[in-house]
Amino acid sequence: MTLPPLTCDFLGWQLHSPLVLASGIIGASASLMARAARAGAGMVTAKSCGPTPRAGHPNPVALDWGGGLLNAIGLTNPGAQEEALLLAETKRRLAPLGAPLIASIFAGTVEEFGQVAAIVAQAQPDLIEVNISCPNVGDEFGTPFAGSPESAAAVTASVRQATTIPISVKLAPNVPDIARIARAVVAAGADAITAVNTMPGMVIDAASGRPVLSNQVGGVSGPALKPIALRAVFEIAQAVPATPIIGTGGVVTGQDAAEMLMAGAAVVGVGSAVWYRGVNAFGQINVELAAFMAGQGYPSVAALRRASIRRG
């Protein structure tokens, strides 16, 4: 069985795989991001950075609860200035590997988003991912910016004005109607959409009567997130069919990746799979996806994507 190629187009780049290292997973060092690309990721995303350095939360910050993971790392990051240096170094290391670099940013206000974008833009990342779905910061009610079409659009417009680098806005799954948010951010200038971030959750240790995470609450990722992410991607793809989606959530196998493409994703984010299968996950998922495509008669990722599901 000769395996079909996994090359695919995303915003004009020719990627050697549709897999994308998701933000926050081994994305705090140039060497680890380069390792993900060597392992088989077609693009890599750096960990989200904000305006100023943050240490993050005390331990425990993450765990595997059986159906998936829960984490509240607490947006540990070196601040935008330091991040720009890290991004430049990472870009240099990724260049020979042919993998575009996605920067990821968050901020506490609409204006600050633009400022952080301008700083990281100095490193010339290929794409800036705008993380409006982090649960620690939000609008005047404390709601994450991803929670309403208005605030999501305002952040998008602020970043759009700050840089000419393409931007992808990262949406949260915990909204009543993700299609509305998607339309709003595309109208405000998003070139792509990343969906989804983690789903708010909590794991309680009954023996101690305490939440396990020091932050009490955290974000669910991994297999439990997959059906939630597939639906979100499906709804967004119907709402903004011309906008490419980085479909992210619970992808651990090649078949998961195929399902994400069928739901309407252009490329596929992979995060928690690094725990389940090691950094080699990227290479393993690539081989499985290619084998699935061969078995089902899809000659290319583009062909698989053309078979994506329509609202019926």
């Binding site: 060092s29 680890l32 380069a34 595997d64 540990t76 090691g278 393993q284 499985e288």
Partner: protein, 310 residues
């Protein structure tokens, strides 16, 4: 998928090992290999990694050096602690052709991968290391050493048993006892070097004395065994070994591990080092335990077949 929820275990027994080290025997068991670790959680306090000193019953040997390890030392029999694990890759036995470590340093991920999906844990990272055979020992040592503390193991050791050399510094001696038991049970000859600042800080000497191992001691002040570092005893221990050494194992301070890795590279001896790095998630996501050029101590290690920091 295997859950890794923290499991509450009660302390069944506490042993003072030395002035600042205690061993906690818990009332639970884990399926684990020597060298694997757990994240130990005290609700409301902190969560940190500890090597398993035994898996059945679960046993941790803890040196009180800072806030969390002191909090552990303040616990009494009956108190509970919570363990997430076992995590990471432990020591592997020096079996011919199936060793997963290498004296030459591998490079993280070169894109080789397998298409099969099996249980997550056993899959993790197992495919990136290459295999190389140890060389016959060469070069007799010129270091002046004290006589091995015990040679009881030599009477029954036959030259056909593959020889292994273990180096422990600080609490690192404890997981090596767990390893030594597995090695002896699988027909290996074991030489053990225990290093410490002084006689008072030596760990588990009685336990190793009671085992069928060649035991060597080294103290920085010379108050017991050789005056010097654990690594200074390598040459005489190798020279006195009943056979060529199939694997060198070590657990202890990073400085000792680095020095050992250099020695083993020079002597072309295969080595397995239990590395330490600050850990947060413990499951390969947060990057905080990165060492060297992209190695994750929690996921790729903590046991490496080379010096991951170089």
């Amino acid at each position: 998928m295997a859950a890794n929820l923290p499991q509450a275990m009660a302390i069944a027994q506490i042993r003072d090992e030395n002035a600042r080290t205690k061993t906690f025997v818990l009332d639970g068991r884990l399926e684990a290999a020597p060298g694997q670790f757990v994240m130990a959680w005290l609700p409301g306090v902190d969560e940190k990694p500890f090597s398993l000193a035994q898996a059945d019953p679960v046993t941790l040997t803890v040196a009180a050096v800072g806030p969390f390890s002191r909090a552990l030392h303040s616990l009494a029999v009956g108190d509970r602690l919570w363990l997430r694990g076992p995590l990471g890759h432990g020591f592997t036995l020096p079996e011919r052709g199936s060793s997963s470590v290498s004296v030459s340093r591998p490079h993280p991920e070169r894109g080789s991968s397998s298409a099969s999906v099996s249980r997550p844990y056993t899959e993790r990272g197992s495919s990136s290391a290459s295999v190389s055979r140890p060389h016959p020992e060469r070069g007799s040592s010129s270091v002046s050493v004290s006589r091995p503390h015990t040679e009881r193991g030599s009477s029954s050791a036959s030259v056909s048993r593959p020889h292994t050399l273990l180096l422990g510094g600080g609490y690192g001696v404890a997981p090596l006892r767990f390893l030594a038991e597995r090695l002896l049970a699988t027909g290996h000859a074991v030489s053990m070097i225990i290093g410490a600042r002084s006689a008072a800080e030596l760990l588990l000497v009685d336990a190793f004395t009671a085992m069928e191992v060649r035991l060597w001691l080294a103290t920085e002040d010379g108050s017991a065994g050789l005056r010097g570092l654990a690594t200074d005893v390598i040459a005489p221990a190798l020279a006195a070994a009943p056979a060529e050494t199939a694997m060198v194992y070590a657990c202890g301070p990073t400085g000792m591990l680095r020095a050992l890795a250099a020695i083993c590279q020079a002597r072309e001896l295969p080595v397995q080092l239990s590395w330490e790095a600050p850990m947060r998630c413990g499951i390969g996501l947060c990057s905080s335990c990165e060492v060297g050029d992209g190695w994750l101590t929690c996921l790729d290690g903590p046991v490496f077949g080379f010096d991951p920091s170089r």
